[in-house]
Symmetry: C2
Subunit: 289 residues, 2 copies
């Protein structure tokens, strides 16, 4: 009797889950574990950074980047183009053999969406797009027929030359106000989920008029960059991120839009900038255990 009740409960809850997925991919799980094969540990002199990759959106870029990371390609390269309020960019020396050894990639800046394509909506009539939202932890924007990951602080994307399909190994993190004019014409393929303060403290390389140029010996180096799966278990940093398909995240969006706290003695406009909605992380295990 107990067994059959349990079995029935299990069946019902499984059905509920399937139905929620069918409807709009909603789940009750507030947190989501990251896949170790899809997570990168970046070690800088100032600290460790964890990055989640986005193979579901930019498969070719993630494949190439992961292959390079596994080879230690980025170890000892430096952040050679770091503009405060804009981006921190790294890669091998321009035009070097190492640089030229990497194949160029076709851009993966946006993707077609059909009517069954689900996401967590954030804002209609956003300044830069018809609609913004989240999917799988990533901020996105969309119009009627396509969607694209959108440039927010912490975004990881491939740099390129003037040609659309000229990205290879150079990448950048966004470290300032979202440069959303780069959306669709650059390939975003990951985001920082831990240690963003270390990315923010990378040595700036651009001098303003009247300043001495920054000596390249001061550029922040990448001590190492590894797939988390290749890091010894004891040294892994295990992170979970907020599940942007959860009901709790949707509720948080609503609260953030309506600002009920008494601090808001006058209510702001009931709108949300998708890049100003933090997707939370929590630490499950640090690198010292």
């Amino acid at each position: 009797m107990i067994y059959s009740t349990l079995k029935k409960l299990f069946f019902l809850s499984a059905m509920a889950f399937v139905s929620a997925c069918d409807a709009n991919n909603v789940s009750d799980e507030q947190w989501r574990a990251l896949e170790v094969n899809n997570t990168v540990l970046l070690t800088l002199p100032q600290g460790k950074v964890v990055i989640e990759l986005a193979p579901q959106f930019s498969p070719k870029h993630v494949e190439q980047f992961s292959t390079l990371v596994k080879k230690g390609f980025y170890d000892k390269t430096t952040f050679y183009r770091v503009i405060d309020g804009f981006v921190a960019q790294a890669g091998p020396k321009d035009g070097s053999d190492k640089d030229k050894s990497v194949a160029q990639l076709a851009i993966e800046g946006e993707f077609i969406t059909d009517k069954d394509w689900s996401f967590t909506p954030v804002q209609s009539d956003d300044l830069f797009a018809m609609q913004t939202g989240f999917k799988g932890g990533f901020a996105l924007a969309k119009d009627n027929d396509s969607a694209w990951l959108t440039h927010c602080p912490g975004t990881l994307a491939m740099a390129r030359g003037n040609e659309a399909d000229s990205a290879s190994s150079h990448f950048y993190f966004v470290i300032g106000q979202a440069p959303r004019y780069l959306d669709r014409i650059m390939t975003i393929f990951g985001r920082v989920v831990y240690g963003m303060e270390h990315i923010q403290s990378i040595q700036r390389t651009s001098a303003i008029e009247g300043e001495y140029a920054i000596d390249s010996r001061e550029h922040t180096p990448i001590l190492s960059m590894k797939l988390m799966a290749d890091v010894p278990k004891a040294e892994r940093i295990i992170i979970e991120v907020e599940n942007t398909e959860s009901t709790s995240f949707a509720e948080r969006l609503t609260k953030r839009r309506t600002r009920q706290h008494e601090f808001f003695y006058k209510k702001p406009p009931p709108v949300l900038d998708v890049c100003q909605v933090p997707v939370r992380s929590r630490l499950i295990k640090n690198d010292k255990a």
Copy 2:
């Protein structure tokens, strides 16, 4: 003959200047010197930061802040609330005698604008406001009858309690994506014009779930904070900032909107986020000369 021609030329160009000022305050000066009585030198362990105050918009807050700065009020206080992607906040210990010694201020979050009120327009139908623009180097937003300084990275504003008129001495810098939902309900009274990278590297104080709390002994201290007028001349950092009322700045806005460079093989939407338009600074003299 030469004299009278020169005189005539002078007269004509002076007229043109006056007429441009009358129309919308346009000037041909690309750069603007900062007033030493209106500029603050903040010394952090990691470097020096220059702040321009905004007495034209928030006179009472600037007056109180300047008085405190002149007294050395902030020296040895710490940034005790620093949230990555949001704000770095400093002030005396909450509830201490020092804290309670400072008078509370009536909020100066917005101001009435009449039809002659001029500014450099950036964007209509911005997500958060009818209109955005710049005036005197400061990003602002407005509707039909009023305008307000808007929260962008580098903005300096007074913190407060739940009551509108409860700001006193605690202040914050914006260090992440513009939290524009704070517009009008906080008093912005300055902005960072030099050394923003040092503000970005202030020790974060908020731990995520699962992390150890940050020991307060690690909080970044303010080594000193002085009005530039009170700094010995040899140690002053002299900065000029882009004149946001200049024709060259207006042209830069147009270029930034239309993105003519071949890098933009596909054009972004012809819109501008006022917080993503850098107002440039240039260094006239550093603190070592």
